[in-house]
């Protein structure tokens, strides 16, 4: 795929976000899909490809009345939607599809029509981690942090400041779930969830959805909304259980997926104006900035604490407030892409002036499992 030959033509989140007990997971996906199609002036009849994660692709397609001839059910955690963009771009470039709908809906908080968390006492997690009380992201996604702190000198205050910086963005965003300013002391005084993580260093648990319409750049130019061009993409995976992460101070999946994306785009991190790094927990932006080569190892904690990623900083990161303050349905990657699209269209509530390139780093399945990366631009190369 040539950089910029495929575009995100339509993008939208569900109308309701946060606590939405009156809507099922699939209804949130469908609402988002209709809104993304309306955003670019297309209808369900224009869609010939579909991609979903967690929710079955066939279920969503039929619910919407779409009859796809390209189907992607890649479900590798919250980065799946970034990977769907990569797969859709390849499919469109290869002539396998013309218009791909990527849809996400999740009733993460209200659990209405929400598929259960899969557990299997015979798989690697079930035999070698779950018996020891590994139960959900708060205790395994967080496992690398103490090792990282030990080896790099990251302080508890610096870790807490990630949440403080992102709350500053959320305060500018009327749709953000948590908007009141917080201090490092507020974070460190919130209750411990899994040491060293306090409540305010853990993501929200919300309901919501989002959808994207991906098509060729040529076709996108004729549609209603400003196209966002796909310059580079990457995907990678590392391990199914946290103990098998090669080095807990660095994510191999982050490194590999971001390298692929930068190589495909022919860009360097210094070319990027705006960054979204999936922040299920406060250490992820730190790992992301280093593993995606925006910073060197051990620099990110101080970089964030010095204010460089917050409003007015030199490298705006997680400008919607992130999973820590904006929303986090469980598979947050869709919302990171949505914010990137808003920034590139000049439509973000906390708009960064002059954004031309945006980098999105997704994480999947408890951090150590998988990753996806996108480099997007409002300028076709």
């Amino acid at each position: 795929m040539r950089p910029g030959s495929v575009a995100i033509a339509g993008a939208a989140e569900s109308e309701a976000l946060g606590k939405v007990p009156g809507r099922s997971a699939i209804e949130l996906a469908a609402d988002s899909a209709h809104r993304a199609l309306a955003d670019c002036g297309l209808t369900i009849h224009d869609v010939d490809g579909i991609a979903t994660a967690e929710l079955a692709s066939i279920d969503v397609a039929h619910y919407l009345g779409i009859e796809p001839t390209w189907i992607d059910g890649t479900s590798i955690g919250g980065c799946s939607f970034l990977v769907h963009v990569r797969h859709a771009a390849a499919a469109i470039s290869a002539g396998l599809a013309t218009t791909v709908l990527i849809a996400h809906g999740e009733s993460g908080r209200s659990r209405v029509g929400q598929p259960p968390w899969p557990t299997d006492p015979a798989n690697a997690n079930g035999q070698f981690e779950a018996p020891f009380g590994v139960w959900g992201p708060p205790v395994c996604m967080t496992m690398p942090a103490v090792r990282y702190m030990h080896e790099t000198g990251l302080t508890h205050e610096q870790l807490a400041y990630v949440a403080v910086a992102q709350r500053k963005w959320a305060a500018l965003n009327p749709r953000a779930y948590m908007r009141d300013p917080i201090s490092v002391d507020d974070v460190l005084n919130s209750r411990l969830i899994a040491y060293p993580f306090h409540l305010l260093e853990c993501c929200l648990v919300t309901d919501g959805g989002g959808a994207l319409v991906v098509t060729s750049a040529g076709r996108a130019a004729d549609l209603r909304s400003r196209p966002v061009y796909v310059l580079g993409t990457g995907e990678a995976c590392e391990a199914p259980i946290v103990s098998q992460m090669e080095d807990m101070t660095s994510s191999k999946a982050f490194r590999r997926s971001s390298e692929l994306a930068f190589a495909a785009a022919g860009l360097q991190p210094s070319d990027i104006d705006h960054v979204m790094i999936y922040d299920a927990f406060a250490h992820l932006p730190i790992f992301g900035l280093e593993d995606c080569r925006f910073l060197k190892r051990g620099e990110a904690g101080a970089f964030i604490a010095e204010g460089n990623t917050e409003p007015g900083g030199k490298l705006p990161v997680n400008t919607n407030g992130g999973g820590l303050s904006y929303t986090h349905t469980g598979m947050y990657g869709m919302f990171a892409i949505q914010e990137s699209v808003r920034q590139l269209r000049g439509q973000a509530p906390a708009q960064v002036p002059g954004v031309r390139t945006s980098f999105v780093q997704g994480v999947g399945g408890n951090f150590f499992m998988s990753a996806g990366s996108l480099i997007l631009s409002n300028d076709r190369p």
Partner: protein
């Protein structure tokens, strides 16, 4: 209230769990790569070959690689919260997730790279490897 997860062995992991039942920690070694690996698989994940892969009884000696102290109980852990979930690095090289026993669930008691020794705890009809400061000998 549901209880703690009880692992269900599969054919390729049975030797490991049989070892735990005998209070021994069995892992695999690839003679071609001259390295140990865990979790159990028929072929070496480094070279991809099953030639030269054999089971060995590990020393049970390990160091503390990383940990969290969970304040949010997993099913069955309600009575012992907060509890430590640790990743230990075996003397032989591989890492594994475990619980720590006989060590206070306090950051001041949990010093990274501190030496640990395997111990064994029953769980239903299975036996789990846990780690603590006191030694439980691994039979030859």
């Amino acid at each position: 209230m549901t209880g703690k997860v009880i692992p269900v062995p599969t054919p390729e992991t049975q030797r490991f769990w049989d070892g735990c039942a005998d209070n021994e920690l069995w892992i695999q070694h690839c003679d071609r790569c001259a390295r140990h690996f865990f979790y159990p698989r028929p072929a070496c994940p480094t070279c991809g070959s099953d030639v030269g892969v054999r089971w060995v009884c590990a020393s049970g000696q390990a160091t503390l690689y990383s940990y969290v102290i969970s304040h949010r109980p997993a099913p069955g852990f309600e009575e012992e919260t907060p509890y430590v979930i640790a990743v230990v690095e075996l003397k032989e090289g591989p890492r594994m997730t475990t619980n720590l026993v006989g060590i206070d669930p306090e950051p001041s008691s949990l010093v990274l790279d501190m030496p640990l020794q395997v111990a064994f705890q029953p769980r239903g009809d299975m036996v789990l490897p846990v780690f603590g400061p006191s030694a439980t000998a691994c039979k030859a």
